[in-house]
Symmetry: D2
Subunit: 359 residues, 4 copies
């Protein structure tokens, strides 16, 4: 109800503010007997962490994930897994100047309207720091999926106007982590990096797109009516900070196609039924058909810019706002592990629920 | 869990198949004392109904909504409101030829994989007929919202390549129902109609985009983290049959903007705080800011075409499939009331939940 | 949230009022491929139906359950199963005299306070008629359990002071349906019947206890912390009209025992681990241990009596209330199938959820 | 689904094992702007803590509740409140001797069956230590209720055969905390204490009953059908470790009454409608009527006894089990604050949900 819980069978509950004591997550419904590789959780958090390169924010966050419960002798016990990530110290100073001001296109004003009170330090709960808890939970979901042969891979396919026109099939995913921008086409990656540096020099920010592919997903996941697999993936992606749009398979471009082009013809490949094309994006009628699931998520330019901007304060007076903290000029490189984490949570949830469908 | 329930505070549960006895919905959580205008429910269903014009399917569905419970002397009692819509007769004949065949890009194959059994007649539960139940429930949500001064308006903004480039602000919504294509720009509407007729003559289908605007929505709706208002709207839209993408505010186009352009400056307008621009689409940090909420939903071309297509049957043998039933060449005109209904359900749900947020 | 939905994996949503058009239930999550024996559903409803004998109310209710969806060619399809039971005609007359009066120990006053409006005819939604929908859903749960070898048997063990002191192990369940009071000890059954007739002659009512036994339940059902199996059974029983108490295993009597007496020693019986005694009632730490699960539910005397009683009306004026409709002098014989239905729903729900627990 | 989440609007998620790093709770849905008195949370935990007197276990638990999130400048922010209680050190030694043995009437066997793996130290998640998290969450619920004038008071009314026959109305609640047994009748308290000491000397344990009263609860709380207020209270109580039964109002004794005696006549007291008697226990038709809500919860004798007992181990071999750790001879004195906490959670949840009922 209050919006901090996600999932049905594999249900996570996140907590924590940007500048409070720490953030964390409780996972209720992780199957018992899963090997929990703590180093893997840590490495996923490292991918999300700020300060990885010149093109992302220079804040340093240690982001050490401490497992508080639910794991015994290296395995999940089936009881709630709580993971806690302490915040670093002394970070409240940067925000005193905006305590009663509403930063444009941040959540300051809407939180104030919703709750009446708010933790103004670094955005409080509305900070993207909350997503570290998601990445930690997502890492456990990924461990569950990996043993089932399901992989989830995300990468940056657009920054500003710099857009990768290739299909994911023609990309070498091994190059994703080669550059800080996480675009596997290294030529395009360099263009994106140069562009982000330029934008950064202007004290400005820019948006981008993260593309993701789920491979090895069995048929049958997803529900009719409301909990269609792509609807749950869409909600998951749109719940990430700064997300503005979601499309899967042919997406918005499919609008201009005719049915005779867009329909994916079935054929038999050995024992498996496959489709010749995959405009469906691996999902038909809301249910996975065994083909690759792929989708794109759009992210807006980060709201914190160095420029002076017009705004109002809590008293309703006209004020000027200038960004001070250390922020990302472009959010998408760091959004990559978050997109993967959220996708892993959705697929794990549906895999577990599918166990209940047949008599 | 099984995916046929939507909403938290205003929770609906739909049931029924295309060619079973009927379809329906149970609404749990409709506030008591709301005047239930049955004629309005009926008129909303009429907007969704097939057979309205030459550009939509010629099937005739009476779609009479019968209220079975929860309304007494014209008012909601606070107990579950069940609405039932009987199916017409003798509609199973058209489907016997595809009983064991998987129609390309339909849900036949995925339902078969998910459940092992399926009602193959007219798509069974995967039929868009299920959305009539949503429209009935959405009509009650609209009645709730209307008395709060909140309106929801959707229209067709694209069919194939025919795309309306105007902002909703420059359109006269009074013209939406003037044409069967539900595009308020009458010149563009005619282009769309001509194009759909052409596609239909080819035995083919085409996709489109529905745009929607929510006006009068108060500040504070939506939750941090997962249940952001646009994430819930996105899931709602993506749960509609044939939906392929969702974007709100600046959407995918916002990706190419810089933060300095994209940020919406706050200013004081009398007693209200407003924004100069509205790239945020009325939602910041997942919470409504009082400005208009607007979003776009992409729909793929309908999968049923008259052309012969390659496919396989349940035995895995190669077969040919030819569409026979009466189907829409383009789904978007009839998707308009469904988009509105789903949006009404989401806003009503969040309005009720917001009552619990403050001490 | 609004309280008309029960269960997680096997989730039911009931609707309808005593004197509205009808009542019904939507089951979301019934596994696909289950054979649905409609005659069995009907026979379960017949057990709950009024007018079965002189010791229950003489109202005649046909209670024909019509399956509206979710079943195709005799099998569940995995999609929502809606069941509708039309109400008989012309039943509103009996209640006009109490339209604005609050009958003592009925829900008239509390519904008025909760909702502001209410359907006063026959108690509206607060009528025990709602339980017919539960029995219909429970019948489907029973069909699911039967094929797994799980049986649920309830019977009347107390009416007023007439209390059966035998353990269920010493009773012949074949005699339960031999008498209208549903007590398998025929001598005690006669005492109960005589007593109920006497109470009825006085225009009065009396309470009783229903005992239930679940046999064949596998180990492992139930959850730690909140959703303990007995906690969910308890809630299910306490949600039945007129229920006042619930106990399982040693129950309230266990309070006076010492741990050394009360502990159930484990032993090996072939390949199975069993307990020598079963004070635990088949549930330890909230999880089933494979032994019989047994519990008792207390029901108060029916509130509708023929005597004149003091009360107030909606205007707050002192009034007299006299029961007129046809009512049960004792509710417990008809509560037997309801107790079984609710138990079947809980066990089915937990059986399905248990499928998700292991890696 | 996995059973570690409780509540709808005021939803708590607990985590942690007896001998892991710690235990905790995340509260999602605490209204914003509530003053959070940390000292009060601490004092509630102190009431539950072991080692308070000779008649409860001598284990020392510091039980310091650390608020990790959701509170800013002393007030709730409306975002999740996470509370963490670290476990003390070096407590695993006592349990190595029972690592593969199933202690009679503990959850060892059933956890083993359910999960396949388990944290055997001190019962792991099945330990009553989990209830400390509930008491912390319940303290915040109590703070919410107190400002609304609602109080919840529990006390011990029975230990073994020593049973207080007085109504709560004739007791002075100020004496509850005067003795370690928490019975407000000091004469009876001494009898109970003497009896517990005697049982303890025998290396044995005994059960008891906790009675609770909710005063100042407004009319209208609770839902029709499934989520009746007493059904939710019942589930809450039955979810506490060692609970065996629940009854409210007249409870099991009401079974022997006639309707003419049991019905609570309404009358007008100034502007309020009250009832002459209160056999209904403040709840009619599942909804609060404004009168005192009172109920009783039965607890079995603690399973850990010093005596040698027969059992089996994981290999299915016959073994002997002897209790070693420090345990309570009687659980009920420490159950008092847990009963209050669970009741506070239920009432808070329903108070918030009631805000959504009217148009």
């Amino acid at each position: 109800m209050a919006g901090n819980i996600f999932g049905n069978a594999f249900r996570i509950s996140t907590f924590g503010e940007s500048h409070g004591k720490g953030i964390g997550v409780v996972i209720d419904g992780c199957p018992a007997g899963l090997e929990i590789d703590e180093a893997f959780i840590q490495s996923e958090l490292a991918r999300r962490r700020p300060g990885q390169s010149k093109i992302v924010t220079q804040r340093k966050e240690a982001d050490h994930a401490e497992i508080l419960s639910g794991v015994f002798e290296g395995k999940s016990t089936g009881t709630p897994i709580a993971i806690y990530i302490k915040n670093g110290d002394a970070r409240s100073k940067d925000y005193s100047h905006i305590a009663d001001k509403f930063r444009p296109s941040h959540a300051d004003f809407t939180y104030h309207e919703k709750y009446g009170v708010r933790d103004y330090r670094g955005g409080g709960r509305s900070s993207a720091r909350e997503t570290a808890a998601r990445v930690a939970a997502g890492a456990i979901a990924k461990l569950f999926l990996l043993q089932k042969g399901i992989t989830i891979t995300a990468y940056v396919s657009q920054v500003g106007h710099h857009k990768l026109e290739q299909s994911y099939k023609n990309l070498d995913f091994n190059h994703i982590e080669d550059t800080p921008v996480r675009c596997p086409n290294l030529g395009m990656a360099q263009q994106m990096i140069d562009f982000i540096k330029e934008v950064r020099k202007d004290g400005d920010t820019v948006g981008g797109v993260v593309e993701a592919v789920i491979q090895g997903c069995p048929t049958g996941l997803g529900s009719p009516a409301f909990d269609k697999l792509h609807a749950d993936l869409g909600k998951a992606m749109l719940s990430i900070n700064a997300a503005k749009g979601f499309e899967y398979g042919s997406g918005f471009d499919g609008v201009t196609m005719r049915g005779s082009q867009h329909n994916d013809a079935f054929y038999k490949d050995g024992k498996e039924i496959k489709t010749e094309t995959n405009y469906s994006g691996g999902i038909q009628g809301g249910i996975s058909n065994g083909m690759d699931i792929y989708f794109r998520t759009a992210f807006k330019p980060v709201a914190t810019i160095v420029h002076e901007q017009d705004s109002v304060n809590e008293a309703g007076e006209a004020v000027k706002v200038v960004g001070k903290g250390r922020h990302d000029p472009c959010v998408v490189p760091r959004a990559v592990p978050i997109v993967e984490a959220m996708a892993a949570l959705v697929i794990t949830d549906h895999l577990l629920m599918q166990r209940m469908v047949k008599n």
